[in-house]
């Protein structure tokens, strides 16, 4: 790759790349507002000024250049930090601030506002503007975001977002000159499913998330990298939490999955992470007629004892799981059945799902499959579908022991009627549901945000999650529960950690061959073998206007 120099250091660039993009890639700090790597370049904020001391032909540029619009060329020399640059930025910053309200203490962007950051660096501390500031007022622009136009610095990122990213064109710039303001067309509220991104890309506090604002100051939030489990796309997110409460999900850049974006539906899954009411908060066992709290040891002991009594044959054991479970959990429960009961009766629902196809990439982020790990289950050759003949046969035969992981087949009342009559039903799950009501033993699992795990997305990419918040005291991650349960049943294998389970899975499951836990990294890794998904249907996305 050709090379040019930034502050005396050689930097490689792709032909056609802009100076700012190359500089940011190598960790240089150049203040900017209107530039966004995912959108077109307008070069209007004029903040990313740099000094081009050599254009590549031995001559300097006559004046300061905006780094976002200058093409990098071989032999070019750039200074991102000298007195001339500082002064240039200072004057642009002054212009930006004269009409920007200095209400940082009550502004929700405070702490993650680039205008605030750069004003500390380049602001003068004293304004020479002695006229009243421009007032454009707030506008109600949609369900998900709030718009306070007084704070707007007219960078036009939001305008470009609806034009270039979602293609919905519902947002735009109105009036001109000093009165330039953003708004929706014909006063209609926005309808696109990605409004939250507008709050992310807004460099100031003009657009903020209604769901989050005024709940917590951003500098108090701790951040953990994770993935969104709202659908099978597996967008990379940052879980932002404080005092064990999750406040919001923000997209985390991953060019292979979601680029910079996240849908509003995905953002709202944070609510489920704080859900306490319907959580199963301790192991429960059927004592007499009622489920009562018991200890883990007692639960495992009781299960082991009962299974020893029942002595189930392979066809008398069944495990039902949903695709919310991680790869490791699916693998372990499969292994439990195989090792303990020589049974392969593990099933999960695979309803057909739709993948939209669109000229606008962002529309392909939302799928109708609202579980994160369908591809993982398929890769592990777990069979499924309520109409599956084998499943029907198993259900209609003699059943003695049923394991239920999560909430599979929730609408299949017939199944439930049959399984209810089974002698031992073990439910492992996070929330109370109809399965936990009919179970003999209920083992409380943990939610995505509370445990580690890997998930395989619709494009066969394996991605891992981190522990963000602490789980309830008497719950355990599902993979640990299954591992402990198999030990209680006297099986050989025992696992201490997720990497260990993952690497064992790589050994045993063909689809995962060639990867290891370390290779997943923060951007995930694609499976080498593609598993066909018969339930996938590609539909063209009609962009709503």
């Amino acid at each position: 790759m050709p090379v040019f120099q930034i502050d005396g250091e050689p930097v490689e660039y792709e032909p056609g790349e802009k100076v700012l993009s190359a500089a940011l890639r190598c960790g240089k700090i150049i203040p900017h507002y209107c530039y966004h790597p995912g959108m077109s370049i307008v070069a209007t904020c004029r903040m990313c000024l740099v000094d081009v001391i050599d254009l590549g032909n031995g001559r300097p540029a006559p004046k300061l250049q905006t780094a976002c619009s200058v093409d990098a060329t071989a032999g070019m020399k750039i200074e991102t930090f000298n007195q001339k640059v500082e002064e240039g930025r200072k004057l642009v910053n002054e212009f930006l601030l004269i009409n920007h309200p200095l209400d940082c203490p009550i502004c929700d962007q405070s702490g993650e506002c680039t205008l605030q950051d750069y004003s500390f660096k380049y602001g003068s501390g004293k304004s020479e503007m002695d006229y009243s500031k421009r007032v454009n007022g707030w506008r109600d622009i949609g369900t998900f975001v709030a718009l306070e136009r007084n704070r707007c610095i007219q960078c036009s990122r939001c305008d470009r977002f609806t034009r270039e990213i979602t293609g919905t064109n519902e947002f735009g710039m109105f009036n001109r000159g000093h009165e330039l303001a953003v708004d929706t067309y014909t006063d209609r509220p926005m309808t696109n499913k990605f409004q939250g991104n507008m709050a992310d890309i807004c460099p100031v506090g003009a657009i903020t998330e209604k769901e989050f604002r005024f709940k917590r100051r951003v500098w108090k939030l701790k951040k953990n990298h994770s993935i969104c489990t709202g659908c099978s796309t597996g967008c990379n997110v940052t879980i932002e939490h404080d005092r064990n409460e999750v406040f919001r999900l923000k997209p985390h850049e991953n060019q292979n999955v979601n680029k910079w974006w996240l849908c509003d539906e995905g953002r709202l899954t944070y609510r489920k992470m704080n859900e306490k009411k319907s959580r199963i908060n301790q192991p429960l066992g059927l004592i007499g007629e009622n489920l009562e709290g018991i200890s883990w040891e007692k639960a495992y002991g009781a299960i082991a004892e009962r299974i020893r009594e029942l002595k189930p044959l392979p066809q008398e054991v069944l495990a039902l799981t949903d695709t919310h479970a991680s790869n490791e959990e699916l693998f372990l429960i499969q292994k439990l059945l195989k090792e303990g009961f020589s049974s392969e009766n593990i099933f999960c629902p695979f309803p057909t799902w739709e993948q939209s196809e669109s000229d606008f990439f962002i529309n392909t982020l939302i799928t109708t499959d609202k579980t994160p790990n369908r591809a993982g289950a398929l890769a592990l050759h777990i069979k499924g579908d309520q109409k599956n003949k084998k499943l029907k046969k198993v259900i209609e035969g003699e059943l003695k022991v049923v394991f239920v992981l999560g909430n599979p087949f929730e609408n299949e009342l017939e199944f439930k009627e049959i399984i209810k009559r089974t002698q031992l039903v073990i439910h492992i799950g996070v929330f109370h549901n109809s399965w936990s009501e009919m179970a003999d033993v209920v083992l409380p699992g943990q939610f995505y945000s509370e445990k580690e795990g890997t998930y395989t997305n619709k494009n066969q990419r394996v991605q891992s999650t981190e522990i963000a918040v602490k789980a309830l005291r008497r719950t355990r991650p599902e993979w640990q529960i299954i591992s402990e349960l198999s030990q209680a049943l006297g099986h050989k294998s025992s696992f201490e950690s997720i990497p260990q389970v993952f690497n064992a899975m790589v050994q045993e499951a063909k689809a995962f061959t060639g990867i290891s836990f370390d290779k997943i990294g923060s951007f995930g890794i694609e499976l080498t073998k593609n598993t066909k998904d018969p339930g996938k249907k590609v539909v063209p996305e009609m962009t709503a206007i």
Binding site: A43, K63, L91, F95, Q154, M173, R176, H178
Partner: protein, 419 residues
């Protein structure tokens, strides 16, 4: 006595001239086009380069050179757009041409289209020019009826359509990239350059945007012996005649066609007939409101691109605004800053904030709230806009502020000394 040199105004100055197609043909119209159709497009561009004609819209960029930058072999169509969005305060030359001799301009447009290989030329007319729009449309209809436009005019095998497009009243749409955005149906806002329109212009295709007067020069250049006589009308690098829009406190304001080697003094005192009511001259805005102001003692200079640039100002669109000793330059500056604050598109920071802020400061002086500090601030705000914006509007707003503040500071001081 200084007189006009009639090239572009040859017909307009003839009181018996019939501006219809028949009338234009009688005066030798479309002979140049016929000649051009016999040449290769590259030869036409070369000839225009030779003539040294420079863009009359304000920047003075050599037209032939501009055309030679047009991207070739891209597989995309090329476009020629005539910039008839004449809205620089003080300028009214293109209106005269379009209104009184539309066929001269349209012939020039056709020659230009042939040179750049354009098969659909556009005329972006300022929306307020209702009579000119009417005349142009009528003239284009005549050309189609005569077979000079459309399929295979004059048996040349070259197809050409012309569309007259009206603007919606924004000064910024006179900037070529904003004009193209507006022509595409978008908000008229200047684009980031590069890429220049010659590479990616109208609908992403190679485009040349030329001023009406520039195009109107072409029929003369391609007449017999045109290049030599065109070059003889002015000093080196400033060839041809140009239309000077003389306005302000002169006895006979108007649009005059002059050579490029005439001094400003002569224009004001001989062509313009001197200052109204026998007053003394205070200053001149030499090239439309965006050019730096000149004081009365600076006007002994040749009125062309290079000589004005040498003394730190510019000829721009050759709109000379003369003001006499009674003129209040603070009010003048207020009017100018008001104009730019209103016409700034607002997309880039220094211009959006600076034009409005400078207007507020000048208004303070008029309201008796001026101070030495504010005078300095005004100069600083103007300077901060200069050269920091995306397009030239920021410079256009900054130059008059800086020149007036620095050349007439005592007038500002009078405002706050007396109140």
């Amino acid at each position: 006595m200084l007189e006009e040199t009639l090239v572009l105004f040859k017909n307009i100055r003839n009181p018996k001239y019939d501006k219809s197609l028949a009338g234009y043909k009688k005066t030798g119209g479309f002979k140049s086009l016929k000649k051009v159709f016999g040449m290769k497009p590259e030869e036409v561009v070369q000839e225009v380069k030779e003539s040294g004609v420079r863009g009359r819209g304000g920047a003075g960029f050599p037209t032939g050179l501009k055309w030679s930058f047009m991207a070739k072999g891209t597989g995309k169509p090329s476009y020629l757009v005539a910039n008839a969005d004449e809205s620089e305060p003080g300028t009214c030359k293109d209106r005269e041409l379009m209104l009184k001799d539309p066929h001269l301009f349209l012939e020039g447009l056709m020659i230009g289209s042939y040179a750049v290989g354009c098969h659909h030329a556009y005329v972006y007319v300022r929306g307020e020019f209702f009579p000119a729009i009417k005349t142009l449309n009528a003239a284009v209809d005549e050309l189609y009826a005569d077979g000079l436009l459309g399929h295979d005019p004059l048996g040349s095998g070259f197809n050409l359509d012309i569309t007259i497009h009206t603007g919606a009243g924004a000064y910024i749409c006179g900037e070529e990239t904003a004009l193209l955005d507006s022509l595409e149906g978008k908000r008229g806002q200047p684009r980031v350059k590069p890429p220049f329109p010659a590479v990616s212009g109208f609908n992403g295709c190679p485009t040349s945007v030329n001023n009406v007067e520039t195009l109107a020069c072409l029929p003369f250049i391609f007449s017999d012996g045109g290049v030599e006589s065109f070059k003889s009308f002015g000093p080196q690098n400033n060839s041809g005649t140009h239309l000077v829009s003389l306005s302000g406190h002169v006895n006979s304001p108007g649009v005059y066609e002059l050579r490029m080697d005439v001094s400003m003094k002569d224009i004001i005192y001989e062509i313009g007939g001197g200052i109204r009511n026998g007053k003394k001259l205070k200053g001149v805005i030499p090239g439309g409101s965006s050019s730096p102001v000149m004081k009365a003692d600076e006007i002994d200079v040749l009125y062309n691109f290079d000589d004005l640039a040498k003394i730190g100002t510019m000829m721009g669109s050759a709109a000379m605004m003369v003001f006499d000793e009674d003129t209040d330059v603070v009010k003048l500056l207020h009017r100018i800053t008001r104009f730019y604050a209103h016409e700034s598109c607002g997309q880039c920071t220094p211009c959006r904030e600076g034009t409005h802020w400078s207007r507020q400061i000048v208004r303070d002086f008029l309201n008796g709230n001026g101070s030495e500090e504010k005078l300095k601030r005004l100069d600083r705000v103007g300077g901060n806009m200069l050269g920091t914006t995306l397009c030239a509007l920021g410079d256009a707003a900054a130059l008059p502020i800086q020149s007036i503040v620095n050349k007439f500071p005592e007038e500002f001081r009078n405002y706050y000394a007396t109140t």
